[in-house]
């Protein structure tokens, strides 16, 4: 069974926000909310400054706390690609999953249920790429099976220095950032 994940090259990402716009358009994300976003981290002192731009979203963790805390089973790990999804008809809007996510990746949809990135499962199941990956103008984003050593994402992780967000939270995030 595949274990889908994403690899994002921070050297190629320019923070253009195409991924954010593509996600909002593709998934009809309501106004005032976002499933993905851009963060910029500027470190150092003049003239030695280092800027890291990261396109962030739900990390579809290997040990997702949002799934274990959900009282109804609405938050679940989908059989296809072990992607973390929310069944809207089961969600009661208790917001435990929002509180349990160290990444702040979830929000409450105006209709009342918890919402977040789905890795565009409706596209992926048809063999297409997630909208954010498909539109990236610098080809900084890569998507595939992390369990397949021959996949593009596995080869990138094996060949380049990389990091994940909040590794000490212990959730096993599946979005890797190439340094």
């Amino acid at each position: 069974m595949a274990r889908l994940g994403m690899v994002i090259d921070t050297r190629q990402c320019v923070g253009c926000m195409d991924c954010v716009v593509a996600c909002k358009t593709e998934n009809d994300v309501p106004d005032g909310h976002c499933r993905d976003w851009i963060s910029q981290r500027l470190e150092g002192a003049m003239p030695d400054l280092h800027l890291t731009i990261t396109s962030e979203r739900c990390n579809h963790c290997d040990r997702p706390p949002c799934v274990t805390c959900c009282p109804t089973g609405a938050s679940h790990v989908h059989d296809y690609g072990k992607v973390v999804l929310v069944d809207h008809d089961k969600c009661i809007g208790c917001k435990a999953c929002l509180a349990s996510c160290p990444y702040g990746a979830r929000f409450v949809h105006p209709e009342g249920y918890a919402d977040k990135c789905t890795f565009c499962m409706h596209r992926v199941e048809k063999g297409e790429l997630p909208a954010c990956v498909a539109v990236c103008p610098t080809h900084a984003m890569h998507f595939g099976d992390l369990d397949d050593p021959q996949s593009e994402v596995s080869r990138l992780i094996a060949s380049r220095r990389h990091f994940v967000l909040k590794p000490d939270a212990g959730t096993g995030p599946r979005i890797y950032y190439l340094e």
Binding site: D89, I92, G104, A169
Partner: protein
């Protein structure tokens, strides 16, 4: 220099998590209060208190039903997808303390109803022979003792789950303490004992409840110390979370309302009352009840504010 800029702007998540407002602390407080009342009522029932003897334990199930219903009302108001609440009872999620809580509440209601039933005078039940027969059976010493034990167990489950509910959410470092469950349980016991003391008519009963509450407050104080020491001696993330209460934005409200007015002052007043240096006063129990409410508000609010600091 470190400058961090993000385009994320989701309501209830940014700039700091604030998913739970007044509803959840109120529910946790009322749930703890009911839990404490159930344990006290159960303990008194097992000590041989029987209907008609004026014991406060016969009133507590009725008040607990009201308080728990108010608490569940607050919880319902907190839900964002309210019409789907029944989904909670189509499944049991063993790793979700919130799922345990949903089912514990289902257990607690019938226990409270049976406890309340035993205090209804027999002649009022004459029109419903089956209910009257059940009430008569429950008044038998052996059955009353068993119901008392069930009440204690259900009360412990209810009281401790409210703390575990928070401590299981590892993304909030302030809540990452195994002592939070016992703390909320003991705080509930303290609130329950204070309220029972407030409404008790029998002087001996008042004195017993007063002594019990004094012990509960002392244990609560120790558990607060344990929570803080546990956080301070853990990782930097947890120490930063503890700093919210030790110099950070929640310091004043925590130390003044929760510890000072909610625990230390009533502890002093009750110690003086126990040693008969001052007469019984309603001030101490009212402070304890207010302190219990403040504890839930501070822990829920500060806990949401705490977060993992690494990028």
């Amino acid at each position: 220099m470190l400058e961090f800029v993000t385009t994320r702007h989701n309501p209830m998540v940014d700039p700091a998590l604030h998913v739970w407002g007044w509803e959840v602390p109120v529910y946790l407080f009322l749930g703890g209060w009911v839990a404490g009342s159930m344990i006290i009522a159960g303990w008194l029932a097992r000590r041989g208190r029987r209907p008609g003897d004026g014991c406060v334990c016969h009133v507590l199930p009725w008040l607990s039903l009201v308080l728990l219903s108010l608490g569940m009302g607050a919880l319902f108001l907190d839900l964002e997808h309210r019409l789907y609440v029944w989904r909670m009872y189509l499944t049991f999620q063993p790793l979700s303390p919130m799922s345990w809580g949903g089912w514990i509440l289902i257990l607690v209601y019938p226990v409270l109803l049976l406890g309340a039933l035993t205090s209804i005078p027999t002649d009022l039940l004459s029109r419903w022979p089956a209910v009257a027969a059940l009430a008569a059976r429950l008044r038998q010493p052996e059955a009353a003792g068993r119901l008392g034990m069930v009440s204690i167990v259900a009360g412990i489950a209810l009281g401790i789950y409210t703390g575990i509910l928070l401590s299981s959410l590892g993304a909030r470092p302030l809540w990452s303490s195994a002592a939070l469950g016992p703390l909320f349980l003991v705080s509930g016991l303290s609130t329950g004992a204070a309220f029972a003391h407030l409404i008790a008519r029998n002087a001996d009963e008042q004195a017993s409840l007063l002594k019990a509450d004094t012990v509960f407050l002392a244990v609560e104080l120790a558990l607060i110390g344990l929570v803080l020491v546990g956080l301070l001696t853990a990782s930097a993330v947890h120490a930063n979370a503890a700093a919210l209460l030790l110099g950070g934005p929640y310091t004043a409200v925590f130390w003044v309302l929760v510890v000072g007015l909610g625990i230390l002052l009533p502890l002093l007043l009750q110690a003086l009352m126990v040693s008969h240096r001052i007469p019984h006063t309603v001030i101490a129990p009212l402070l304890v009840i207010g302190g219990g409410l403040a504890l839930r508000f501070v822990i829920v609010s500060a806990g949401q504010y705490s977060h993992w600091i690494s990028p």
